[in-house]
Amino acid sequence: MTNLTVTSAMELSMDIRKEIEEKFSGMLRDTVCAEYLIDEKLLGGIVVFDGTRVYDGSVRTKLENLREKIYE
């Protein structure tokens, strides 16, 4: 079983939670157990950590990436 840590900017609805768990369970080919955290600094989107990799879909990281690209 894989432990997931899901961080989001606001409380996630049960439907979305289910969807996330199903997606990751399919992708990792393993049963998952998710823990949900809230971090307003993310601004939006979610960040999922499966113990070895970070799947970062937060608005904050996207903005940071964009800023770096512009600097380049």
Binding site: T5, F49, G51, T52, R53, V54, Y55, D56, L66, K69
Partner: protein, 503 residues
């Protein structure tokens, strides 16, 4: 018009889309504890020892402890923004710094960031700060002298290119002064210098940089600076950074001189890290591998074989002792690693003997074969005579009646000691050194009072430079001291005596 406007926005949107979605390529972990410049990370199962880690928000750390359930890492940047739960990513690299000739004349920190307020570095190459030392077969013989410009050293404790010579002594005995003098003496000698300040006071480093600038030595010197206010990890990597910079020049076939000022503070920084990482403490609370951090550092200083370009790194590590105790842990370690040491003493320093080199305890294990013929010819007697003198001086302290022979030995020793005194920032060229030692060891100015010797010699060399420069130039060029040279010097000395009415 509106068409092209839309086109541009669409293109931008596409580009932005393609850039902001990045799939996770590298492994990640989370910070479970942080404090005192050390972080503990959960995850990162495949991290390698010594790997550079990236922490969200632009911070970096160095993986040091790979335990079964967690990773211990040391922070290379500020830890103010760090908090528990932050993600840490593997980078697959070890710490590297910019290298190359663009660094000459610059002051950088151990991460390669500019500190002197000048333009940012535009180097083409980077180099890992940890790198294996040259293998046995890739090494050449140390057979070329590296002149320090200090009479007492070049005659009795000669240093060769590719040698590691330790400078050891209490605080305030002129350790840094010897290193700086050596750097100043490398002007126009095609030697690149690297000065690594480890855990020094910022004011001290500042004055070193200023004196290098003042003596026009900064243009061929790189200063790597980690001051006492910086974190222990930065102080710990500083000498490796300096060596990486020096190595780049060495593998290009150039000669490099590197000064580590000082390695006792480096050991202390490493002890701090080790204790924070909860590694077992050994003697004097240093961890078990404190010998290895210095041996692997100093092994990288070497003379390369001709097939590899024949470059060299000459290292002058500095160690500060407490109350002259050279049998403490770190001093004995570094003494056993290096190819000899220059031992400085407080008593000598206070009695006006500067540089305060204890000639009896200072040795150079390879330098003798690197001395040029001219120097070897005149310096052989000096060491013996001084040893003889010291023995006699101790014996006769009780004020007994002395026979003529002892008196003569004492007088000669005092004279010789006096002639080896030298003020800071006044390096002496090899030819002048040879000439002076010749005059001193052949009892040619026994009539000059001891306290007037330095003045006499200075005057003599001024006289020599206006009358006949060719002798010094000849010695400098052929690196030999012939009988003809001896004859010429005898004549000039006679002329100078007449001029000054010393007859």
């Amino acid at each position: 018009m509106s068409n092209s406007y839309e086109f541009i926005t669409d293109e931008l949107k596409k580009q932005i889309e393609s850039h902001i979605h990045e799939n996770p390529k590298t492994e990640a972990g989370r910070i479970i504890a942080c404090g005192d410049g050390v972080i503990t990370i959960d995850g990162l199962k495949n991290v390698r020892n010594g790997e550079l880690l990236y922490i969200t928000g632009g911070n970096y750390a160095l993986a040091m402890n790979l335990e079964e359930n967690y990773i211990g890492a040391i922070l290379l940047t500020d830890m103010e923004e760090l908090s528990e739960g932050m993600y840490v990513y593997c980078t697959g690299e070890i710490v590297s710094v910019p290298v190359g000739k663009e660094l000459l004349g610059r002051v950088i920190n151990p991460l390669g960031e500019v500190l002197d307020g000048g333009p940012s570095l535009r180097t083409k190459r980077h180099r890992n700060i940890e790198y294996p030392a040259p293998a046995i077969l890739n090494r050449g013989r140390v057979n070329e002298p590296l002149y320090t410009g200090i009479r007492a050293l070049d005659s009795m404790v000669p240093i060769g290119k590719g040698q590691r010579e330790l400078i050891i002594g209490d605080r305030q005995t002129g350790k840094t002064a010897i290193a700086i003098d050596t750097i100043v003496n490398q002007k126009d000698k095609n030697v690149i210098c690297v000065y690594v300040a480890i855990g020094q006071k910022a004011s001290t480093v500042n004055s070193v940089i200023h004196s290098l600038k003042k003596h026009k030595a900064l243009s061929y010197t790189v200063v790597v600076c980690s001051t006492a206010s910086q974190t222990a990890p930065l102080q710990y990597i500083a000498p490796y950074t300096g060596t990486a910079i020096a190595e780049e020049f060495m593998y290009e076939g150039k000669d490099v001189l590197i000064v580590y000022d000082d390695l006792s503070k480096h050991a202390v920084a490493y002890r701090t890290i080790s204790l924070l990482l909860q590694r077992p403490a050994g003697r004097e609370a240093y961890p078990g591998d404190v010998f290895y951090i210095h041996s692997r550092l100093l092994e990288r200083s070497a003379k390369l074989s001709e097939s590899l370009g024949g470059g060299s790194i000459t290292a002058l590590p500095i160690i500060e002792t407490l109350a002259g105790d050279i049998s403490a842990y770190i001093p004995t370690n570094v003494i056993s690693i290096t190819d000899g040491q220059i031992y400085l003493e407080t008593d000598l320093f206070n009695s006006g003997m500067r540089p305060a080199i204890n000639v009896g305890l200072s040795v150079s294990r390879v330098g003798g074969s690197a001395q040029c013929k001219a120097m070897r010819r005149v310096s052989g007697a000096v060491r013996l005579e001084l040893a003889h003198y010291r023995e006699m001086a101790q014996f006769t302290q009780f004020g007994a009646d002395l026979d003529e022979e002892t008196k003569a030995t004492l007088a000669k020793g005092a004279r010789l000691t006096e002639s080896l005194k030298q003020s800071q920032y006044s390096p002496v060229p090899m030819s002048e050194m040879v000439t002076e030692l010749y005059i001193m060891t052949h009892d040619m100015i026994t009539d000059i009072p001891v306290e007037e010797i330095r003045g006499f010699m200075t005057g003599f060399f001024e006289f020599l430079s206006v009358t006949d420069r060719s002798i010094l130039q000849r010695i400098e060029k052929t690196k030999q001291f012939t009988e003809q040279d001896e004859k010429d010097i005898n004549e000039i000395l006679l002329a100078y005596r007449k001029l000054k009415h010393y007859e």
